[in-house]
């Protein structure tokens, strides 16, 4: 059964320096509050996994939490670059960042394989592209039935996965609605999992086919209203596209970035 606790305790009891962690949420339900708590607790040397690093990993990379990033698309959606990510990669600031780069299809398959207890993911992809030559985790396997050549990559099995969802009940069963990305897969692939929720309710009011992660498949549930802001939570609040646009200016400059983090994360 999941332990229902507060965010501070959930992070301090599960995230350890040097671990491999995934904060998932595909544009929607990005666990920003949890990422900010990791920054406040000063976690270091993390290998961060996310299909789209988004602003949350830009902030964590800029604060020196990461030694490595495993990702598929590292941009500020519809706006431009992730400047803290680029500064780490291009100039080693605040520290050098190792990268392992994949396509989204590859990452989605690798999370799915991790959740399925498999050591590898098999799919059709990477044909003719340069990533395949640069990422030594991309290998090939021959189908024993059709003799087709298929891509094989290691499954993703994070030490800790953190996601945000709409609600849980008092037992810690979690309901997710809207764009669900790879959240369920990322939770089931992980050794330890934390879910932050908008609210804890008496009754989930779920329909028969709702996406629910049972309490007994989770480790921690914490109630964190607005925990996905400035991304969004379907049914609760919209995506703050204005903030995503403004992040470009805030993150371009190291000093401006640090003072923003100081006011909006560290002193909160």
């Amino acid at each position: 059964m999941a332990k229902i606790t507060d965010l501070k305790e959930a992070i301090s009891e599960s995230v350890i320096d040097g671990q491999t962690i995934a904060l998932e949420g595909f544009t929607h339900l990005i666990p920003f509050a949890a990422g900010h708590e990791i920054i406040r607790q000063g976690k270091l040397d993390l290998t961060l996994i996310r299909m789209t690093p988004d602003i949350i990993y830009d902030q964590m990379i800029g604060m020196g939490c990461a030694k490595k990033l495993i990702f598929g698309w590292a941009g500020n959606p519809g706006v431009g670059s992730l400047h803290r990510f680029r500064d780490a990669l291009e100039n080693g600031w605040p520290k050098p960042l190792e990268i392992e780069e994949h396509s989204h299809a590859a990452m989605a398959n690798a999370f799915d394989a991790g959740a399925s207890g498999l050591p590898l993911a098999i799919f059709q992809g990477y044909k003719g592209v340069d990533l395949e030559k640069l990422n030594d985790k991309i290998k090939y396997i021959t189908c024993p039935f059709s003799e087709q050549k298929l891509v094989a990559i290691p499954s993703i099995r994070p030490d800790v996965t953190i996601i945000h969802a709409q609600k849980s009940d008092q037992k810690g069963n979690v309901l997710i609605e809207g764009i669900t990305g790879v959240q369920k897969e990322a939770v089931l692939a992980a050794t330890c999992s934390i879910v932050t929720v908008e609210e804890i309710v008496e009754d989930l009011e779920a329909t028969a086919n709702s996406i629910i992660i049972p309490s007994w498949a989770l480790n921690f549930v914490a109630e964190v209203p607005h925990g996905a802001y400035p991304s969004y939570a379907y049914g609760y609040y919209g995506r703050d596209n204005k903030f995503y646009t403004n992040w470009d200016k805030i993150s371009r400059d190291r000093e401006k970035f640090k003072s923003w983090v100081d006011i909006n994360i560290l002193k909160k």
């Binding site: 595909f26 780069e101 396509s103 989204h104 999370f111 992809g125 990533l131 669900t180 790879v182 596209n241």
Partner: protein, 260 residues
């Protein structure tokens, strides 16, 4: 001289929208492809099915999304699929007949770069990377590309192949065991290009109204050739321009004037 009352970007988006038809199942990239695809859906192709890789299936946004998974896409979709299902069932499973992509660089055989300018390990400019594009480029029935044309974006050889077009030309796709068509139309702010039969090198097949051959040659990083039977892309009509501007205005308003 007729007075030009549209911008090159508007011409590009409208020319691209015209290529889209009812009945297509279209996997849409964010930005320019999304603008053209929604313009088509809101005008001449109301039955076109638009799919974004966030898992939003058959989505009908009234405003252009800023990100690939905006609330507008999710709430107006027929259904929201998980991302593994999106890539495994719908894309790899072969249900999508058209992929619509953008990019930072494209070469004479329509290979696309959205990863890096310069060297991968010591980048001049680090771009966002692959996202869904590599598998969209090989699993969809065919590919349209929309990209602004300049010597920097239209290069002899891309710095990095993020998405495979026609490789080194000729039957390169077939040699790699790819049985989809790949890029069939490249729509720019100056013209439309298509791969020449057999060589698969891009050639200009339609020049946008008011644009000269010299402008196109000077904005291409290789010696671009022109088809024998070349068309002129008709200038946008007032109806087309009105629909595009209305769409863009209400999208901007939604992003910047909303109270969250």
């Amino acid at each position: 001289m007729t007075k030009i009352n549209h911008t090159p970007d508007e011409m590009m988006t409208i020319a691209a929208a015209r290529e889209l038809k009812d009945g297509q199942i279209c996997f849409v990239g964010i930005g320019l492809p999304s603008a053209a695809a929604n313009l088509a859906r809101l005008s001449h192709a109301p039955e076109i099915v638009l799919i974004y890789e966030s898992g939003t299936l058959d989505t009908k946004p009234d405003i252009l999304p800023l990100s690939i998974g905006d609330p507008e896409l999710s709430e107006s979709a027929l259904t929201n699929e998980s991302v593994p299902e999106m890539f495994r069932f719908w894309l790899q499973g072969g249900h999508i007949n058209l992929g619509f992509l953008g990019g930072a660089q494209i070469d004479r055989f329509a290979n696309i770069n959205s990863t890096v300018i310069g060297n991968y390990s010591e980048p001049k400019v680090r771009l966002p990377g692959a996202g869904g594009a590599p598998e969209i480029a090989t699993h969809c029935g065919e590919i349209f590309v929309i990209i602004r044309q300049s010597k920097r974006s239209f290069v002899e050889k891309v710095d990095f192949i993020t998405s495979f077009g026609h490789g080194e030309g000729k039957n390169h796709r077939k040699r790699l065991g790819i049985d989809t068509k790949g890029p069939t139309k490249i729509i720019t702010d100056l013209c439309i290009m298509e791969p020449e039969p057999d060589s698969f090198e891009l050639i200009v097949t339609s020049i946008h109204s008011g644009v000269s051959r010299e402008e196109i040659s000077q904005s291409t990083g290789w010696e671009i050739r022109f088809a024998n039977n070349i068309n002129t892309t008709k200038a946008p009509s007032n109806i087309e321009l009105g629909a595009l501007r209305a769409l863009q205005n209400r999208s901007l308003e939604a992003t910047f004037l909303s109270k969250n």
